[in-house]
Amino acid sequence: MRSEGSPLLLKIAALACVAFLHVPLLLIFLYAFTTEEKSFQFPPPGYTAKWFGIVWERQDIWDAIGLSVKVASIATFLALILGTCAAAAISRAKFFGRDHISLLFILPIALPGIVTGIALRSAFGIMDIPFSTWTIVLGHTTFCMVVVYNNVLARFRRTSGSMIEASMDLGADGFQTFRYVVLPQIASALLAGGMLAFALSFDEVIVTTFTAGQQSTLPIWMLNELIRPRQRPITNVVAIFVIAVTFVPILAAYYLTREGEHTGGTGK
């Protein structure tokens, strides 16, 4: 009895978990099409696609999307450079306190966002830096860098160190070695790290709240919109858009890093 019963129970438990995680997402899709705009009642009294049209017309949404894309792109770009440099230093060099510095790099993602947010806000305040797109970018770079750093560091650890020496030995200077040997080795790790960083930045709320002035990124805009009584399905439409934008890179990053595990260590 027991041996037959537990797999069934397990299946039910697994299904319950999946439902718990994903039914709210389905509701977002459902209410994007409801005709009732003040409260979400189940089942929706009627269905319409007009909210998509309304979203298309709203300039404030386009501004928010534009800002989010801009912030995420710049933060990811900075994170790629800084994260790669940090990973290279930590994996190649041996120096006193290396492990502690490694921990310091990872800390921004382990710390609650609210702590990072407050810390950055007070730092900007002390230094008299006015809030702007760039303060948001700086805030996002702190945790985006960690994602890139972790990905690239893992790849560096799987790459044979003598490959770099071999390249130098064969006559390549530092730049050529980076271009022809190091970069191809870490390319998929960079892509995966970059995509994750972009997705993280794109839906970040807490740090953004503390580092943005009057500007709204898309998640902030959504938070503000929920408080208003009218045209609620608009938020759902935008949410669908956010899901689409973040889901694709995360999925791609997942497959890229999985593939990287087969190719990363084969030179040895």
């Binding site: 003598s162 390249s167 064969l170």
Partner: protein
């Protein structure tokens, strides 16, 4: 004869560790030179000093008469075959071999042609389009060799290149490497901890211990005439005999080495012919090894002497008393020991 590589009082410290300690050494052009020693003896650091991956802490170094301090690896006309081969996994075998020419700006047809020639030289002419991951260990080793040789280095450095291969392949590669070196006339500097490899391939061998060179010489020199207890023991496991024993056996009162295969064996109490030195011992252990039998014997004074005799000589059993004797010149007095 031109000096290819010259070490003058070269030291390399890693913190308090003296990896290479006051080494002075000249390697001649066209020589097959082996650096032999246990792990941690400084031989690999010496190789890395020649390659330019390490800079000496003190001392002076020249490669073909040019001072090499401060010259980065990519500006030296030496190439290395790495212990783990260090092939680039994202490139084809042909591109791996052509890499050195590519970074020097040689055009594609020329570098591919030369790379193909180098691959043919190591009998891998038809493997150019493969990836390193599709090759066996022995084939990767040859690619690493071709990748270094295509640059026409003045000195080729080999860091335990046969260490990862199985015995049969290793013996085959020893023969091939030796022939390759003879044909190309390039100076080979070869690091190994395998004394058989060093003795069979090299023109000259340097024995390393604790960051110092303890002896340099031809394989015969090193094997027949070790100058310290360490060399006698490390190269071919010679018998190291105390001054007291040397004297009692008929030699001077000095540390001496005696090769196990130089010793003849007679039944107990039989007097050896004149001109021979002798010692009466008891067999402690018998190791049958096919064509030869290795005997561990002990004298009354407690000296252990290993003897290698042809198995055809008869059967020996533990506890047998035997008379060992050897020609006087077989007992080698070690100059390096007090």
């Amino acid at each position: 004869m031109t000096t290819a590589v010259s070490f003058q009082n070269i030291s390399r410290y890693f913190g308090p560790v003296r990896a290479v300690d006051e080494v002075t050494l000249d390697i001649a052009e066209g020589e097959f030179f082996a650096m032999l020693g246990p792990s941690g003896s400084g031989k690999t650091t010496c190789l890395r000093l020649i390659a330019g991956f390490e800079q000496p802490t003190s001392g002076h170094m020249e490669i073909f008469g040019v001072t090499s301090e401060g010259v980065p690896p990519y500006q030296r006309n030496v190439n290395t075959v790495f212990q783990d081969y260090a092939l680039f996994p994202h490139m084809t075998v042909l591109d791996n071999v052509a890499y050195g020419l590519m970074v020097k700006g040689v055009d594609k047809p020329t570098r591919h042609h030369k790379a193909q020639e180098a691959l043919t030289l190591v009998a891998l002419g038809s493997f150019g389009s493969r990836r390193p991951s599709q090759l066996s260990g022995g084939q990767r080793q040859r690619v690493a060799l071709a990748r270094a040789l295509v640059n026409e280095p003045k000195v080729l450095l080999l860091d335990e290149p046969l260490g990862a291969l199985d015995l049969k392949l290793r013996e085959q590669m020893q023969v091939e490497l030796k022939a390759l070196q003879r044909n190309l006339g390039i100076t080979f500097v070869f690091v190994t901890h395998d004394q058989g490899e060093a003795l069979s391939m090299a023109d000259r061998v340097a024995i390393f211990n604790d960051g110092k060179i303890v002896q340099v010489g031809s394989p015969e020199d090193i094997y027949e005439r070790p100058n310290t207890k360490f060399v006698a023991d490390f190269v071919g496991s010679s018998n190291v005999l105390s001054p007291a024993f040397s004297k009692s056996a008929g030699g001077p009162e000095k540390w001496a080495s005696l090769r196990p295969e130089k010793i003849n064996i007679l039944p107990a109490k039989v007097k050896p012919s004149p001109g021979q030195q002798s010692a009466s011992t008891k067999i402690v252990a018998v190791h049958y090894q096919g064509s030869v039998t290795r005997l561990n014997t002990r004298t009354v004074g407690g000296e252990t002497i290993n003897v290698t005799v042809p198995s055809s000589l008869g059967k020996f059993t533990e506890g047998d008393e035997v008379m060992l004797h050897w020609p006087q010149e077989a007992l080698h007095i070690m100059a390096g020991e007090a």
